[in-house]
Structures are given as structure tokens and as C-alpha cells.
Symmetry: C2
């Protein structure tokens, strides 16, 4: 953290986003690339991604017999979900019940797509630094016929831990962090947000329920209300850190679905990861490059330092002060 | 690849870099942050990183008994290596014997640091997009007392394959790719460059020797000369792709060193990875974000398309035409 920085600086996010932009394909009533017209929606709005990376009828790549050259078809669907009809709000600036509606919609989508697909990945890329060009508040949902690499690894680790300790790894972890406190950023009666012990991104966080929960669909009304509150508090702290609409990628990991719904997944514990790229300021990010790509991720500040900094930030948003 | 791109664009690299800049800490004769004065070097030049991430005397973090909270000290050294006294050249624009001197110096460093350290990571971050702010041609060397994650995984996979097939995975792979040809970018009598079957970055490549070699220190004079030629050809193609000094992170992976020098590492095969961030043009990169971070890396073009494009580019550099 003592290095002078003469490297690349990011453009700070657009400060004046219009509430409605007739050219933005995510706004209500607008026409998208494929000619479809958006509903005049008043809360959340879900539609099929016009440029899907996964398709239900992807062709079979054909199998090679050689052990080093094996492929399988990757099938699925890609959806876009708008959080709000207005382009000039973000989750921390939305009203609590508006955030509850987002959570309810996430749960509905997992229920719907999870009926057939093995994995339903809800993720939000926020900010130009995270490859997102559209300021309208939205996330994506990519559902696949297979367990992608990261959840497959998570499943293996949670499975091993459960076999050895007869307790879900992440539930056990949440209990420990709640006691130790030094990495806690936000807590509430049902949820806990920590900078994980193993964090690699400077202000990375992990959002965990305190009760053992497998999937987002299992959350009670009370837990959803509380989650909306916790998300608003976390994201407000993020925005307050450098007084900028904080960029990140986030996503939910719940127990696998589709054919796995019938199996025992007691080792899983629902959680969300937040990966923000910023390190030093609103415009200087952490570059995960050379050593990180070739050898190992290395961190510029400790999880305890990051947690302390975030924990001490005010809960009211700098824009509404 | 059909998606319209309205997202972030990178600043193209500085076109007019001065050959000598009195303020650049990497130029000959200049004074660095810590007050040391650089040699008036004429070829390569190695010095200790003034802001090392690894230190030989890093304190012990103290061990916790809980299985979820275990840490160990990470000890090592960080060096910087300049490739050339001039700031306005890059490897593809350097003379072949100048590149041979770089390769010789890499080998010397692995020999020297590898005598004690388990892993010697040579890596180059090139271009502002890769977090590098200094245009002077250089790389870094971070040596550690432990096997970092990526080489540890590579070691496990190569070890498993060797146990099952009695042949080194990457040697076998190189032979297969040389026959199949569709992913080959550059080849020579001693080396092969391919866009690997499993590539995730759009123009990612893998550089492999054709003969079974464990470490860079084992390369013959002829293999070094040929390597200089192959590197110049690959990097010229990279620069020609978008007619820009192509950004990337690259690094060498050879068999572990230090205490491992006495062990049998026949399953290893020396190789270098090149990870370039650009996707569509000199200014539009591939964002490894949401889905990639949370679920699985997904590629926007196939390795065969990328290899064909690179293979068909001229071997003479656009700047010297
Ligand atoms: O060592 P540098 O060039 O200051 O720093 C660069 O490379 C390091 C090693 O890959 C990274 O950790 C830094 O994020 C990056 O900016
Ligand atoms: O889907 P988008 O927003 O067009 O694209 C963005 O998210 C995708 C999924 O994480 C990435 O593959 C793209 O590189 C990124 O630019």
C-alpha cells in the first residue's frame, strides 16, 4: 500500500444519469435491439438477454476420444432483470420495500429456472470498471445444465468439511466470525457481512444468513425484509468509502438445483459474494495481473483493515446527507 | 461477439515514449525512490523491488487452532529486471541477441534464487491495462519459500497425468497440437506456441518446448536462440493484431526449485503463459467479471478462431514496415 501509483486511473462513474433515457434499452416502454418493446414496468422487470452466452439448444461439440481433448455442450438461458423503472437509482438509494421486491424476484427466478437447470447464477456487474456500460440498475441471471467451476469447487469443499465435522462449513464460519467480530462489516438478527478471512479483492465481502439455509427460495418474509436492510447498509458503506457509486460484481451461491433438488445438500449454506475492484480511491483499482494470474492472488491490505474501515463508515448515504 | 459495445474503452498506449527520461526510475543512471542510483547498464539490469510484496524476514502470523483460521508466513524476495537501456523498445522490436540476453538473465535468476526458494516466478505486466505504468521494457521476479496456488495446481495435474499415462502431460499435449495444427500460432524446430484448447482469455497463448525440459536453466544455447526468435514472432503478431503495443501479463512455469531440486519432477514440462486482455480492438478489453468470477470463465471466440487470426498475421512489425 506504500507504492506510489502512476498507473491507470478509471473514469469516475457518470454523476448525472437521467431518470429516463429514450435510447436506453433497459428503460420502461423502450424498444430493444431485437425489436421487442419493454413493459411499462413499475417495479422489477425480467426479459431474455438479446445476446445470450448460453442457449438451450447449443449444438453438441462432438466428442474426441483423446483424454486431453474432451468437450461437452454447455446449455442454458440468460436473462436480464431490471431492479427499478428509474435509471438514476441504485440499490442503496432504493426504498427498503423496493429492495424486498428485488429479493422476491430473485427467489422467483431461482424457483422457475431451478426447476430444470442445475445451476442458476444471479450476478450483478455494476460500473464501467466491471464491464457494465448501462447505468440502469439491473442484474443478470444465467442458468445452466451443468455445475460451473466455481460452484463445483464450493460444493466439493463444503462437502468435505461436512463429512469431517458434521456441520456446514459456512454456517460454522459465520458463527465464528460473529464471535470474533474483527472482520464483521454489518450484522443484523438474521444476516452477517464479513470481509472473509481469505479475501483477495481489497474490499471483498461475504454475506451470510445466520440460520442454516440452502437456497434463496427458502428465506422467510422476515429474513427477506432484514436482508433488504442489510444490503442497503452494506452498499451505502461501499458508496461512502470513496464517495462514488461503488463498482463491483456480486452474485448468489445457493445449493444446486434442477436434478440436484432431490439430493441431500445439507452441507451447503446460502451466501452472496461481493467483489469490488477499487483499492486506493474512486479511480485507482486493484490490478489482478502478473503474479496474481500466474502464481497466487496477493492482497494489498488485510481483511481486518478493510473490515474496520467499512464498519466505521456511516450508514447514511453521502448523496442524501 | 455480436454484442454491441457501449462500455469502457481503454486509453491506447503512449505512442511517443522518450528513449531516455530523467524521471523514470528504470532508466540507466537514474536515482530510484530509495535513493539508489541505477548502473549505466547496456543490456539487462536487475535490482531489488523498492516496494516488495514478499520479504525474507516476514513475521510469523501466529497460528490459530481452529481449522477455518489457519495462516502461515509467506517469505520471499521481489526483483525488477530491465530488458534494455532504452525506454522506447519492447521485446518484439529488440534485436534477436538482445532478447537472447534477456533469456540468459532469466535463467541466471532462476539458478540464483532457485538455489534456496521453492518457487521463482518470472512475470511481465505490459501496458497500463495490465496495471503497469512504466513503459520501460521490464519484468519482475518474485521468489517464495512456498509453492503458490497456480503452480501447486499445475503440479498436481501434471503429477496425476504422469501417474496415469507415464508421459508428461504438456509434452504429450505439445505433440498432439503440433499434429492437429488448428490451434498453432508459431512453430519452430524447438518451440511451439498455441492458443490452448482450454483458453479463456481471447488471445491467450501457451509457449512450449518440443523437447522434454523441466526448467529454463536446462535450455541449450540453440534452444535459447530459437526461443528469442519465436518470442519475437509471437509478440510481433500480437502487436500487429490491433496495430498497438499489445498489453499482456506473461510468466514462466518451470519445475519447482529450492528444496524440490532434489526430488523427481519428471512430470513437469517448462512453459510460458501469455494472458492478453484485449478482445475487440486496441481499446476494448475482455472483462472477466460477474459470471466469470462467480461461476466460470466463458470465452467470446473459440481458440481455433483466435489461433487462425494470429497465425495469419505478418511476421514483420507494423512499426518497422
Ligand atoms: O508490481 P507493480 O507493477 O507495482 O504492480 C502490479 O503487479 C503486481 C503483481 O502482479 C500486482 O499485485 C499489482 O496489482 C499491479 O499493479
Ligand atoms: O453481459 P454483458 O454485460 O454484456 O457483459 C459483461 O458480463 C459478462 C458476464 O460476466 C462478461 O462475460 C462480459 O465480458 C462483460 O462485459
Amino acid at each position: 500500500m506504500k507504492r506510489p501509483w502512476a498507473g491507470q486511473v478509471e473514469k469516475p462513474p457518470e454523476e448525472h444519469v437521467p431518470r429516463y433515457d429514450p435510447c436506453n434499452p433497459l428503460c420502461p416502454r423502450n424498444t430493444r435491439a431485437n425489436g421487442e418493446v419493454n413493459e411499462d414496468y413499475e417495479s422489477t422487470f425480467v426479459f431474455d438477454n438479446d445476446f445470450p452466452a448460453l442457449q438451450p439448444d447449443a449444438p453438441d461439440p462432438g466428442s474426441d476420444q483423446h483424454p486431453l481433448f474432451r468437450s461437452k455442450a454447455a446449455r442454458g438461458v440468460c436473462k436480464v432483470m431490471c431492479f427499478h423503472p428509474w435509471s438514476d437509482v441504485t440499490l442503496p438509494l432504493m426504498k427498503k420495500d423496493e429492495v424486498v421486491k428485488v429479493i422476491d424476484k430473485w427467489s422467483d427466478i431461482v424457483e422457475e429456472l431451478g426447476a430444470t437447470y442445475a445451476w442458476v447464477q444471479i450476478f450483478e456487474n455494476k460500473g464501467a470498471t466491471m464491464g457494465c456500460s448501462n447505468p440502469h440498475p439491473h442484474c443478470q441471471v444465467w442458468a445452466s445444465s451443468f455445475l460451473p467451476n466455481e460452484p463445483a469447487l464450493s460444493d466439493r469443499c463444503q462437502g468435505k468439511y461436512y463429512a469431517a465435522h458434521k456441520e456446514p462449513l459456512l454456517l460454522h464460519y459465520a458463527q465464528q466470525e460473529a464471535e470474533r467480530k474483527e472482520r464483521v462489516v454489518v450484522d443484523s438478527s438474521h444476516w452477517l457481512v464479513v470481509v472473509p478471512y481469505w479475501a483477495t479483492w481489497p474490499y471483498q465481502t461475504l454475506l451470510l444468513p445466520r440460520r442454516h439455509i440452502l437456497r434463496i427460495t427458502d428465506l422467510t418474509r422476515e429474513e427477506r425484509e432484514d436482508l433488504a436492510d442489510v444490503m442497503k447498509r452494506l452498499l451505502t458503506k461501499y458508496d461512502n468509502l470513496f464517495e462514488v457509486s461503488f463498482p463491483y460484481s456480486m452474485g448468489w451461491h445457493g445449493a444446486p438445483t434442477g436434478p440436484h433438488l432431490k439430493e441431500d445438500y445439507s452441507h451447503w449454506h446460502l451466501h452472496a459474494h461481493y467483489y469490488p475492484p477499487l483499492l486506493r480511491s474512486a479511480t485507482v483499482k486493484k490490478f489482478m495481473v502478473g503474479y496474481e494470474m500466474l502464481a497466487q492472488e496477493q492482497r494489498d491490505l488485510t481483511p481486518e483493515q478493510a473490515a474496520e474501515k467499512l464498519r466505521n463508515l456511516p450508514d447514511d448515504h453521502y448523496k442524501t446527507r
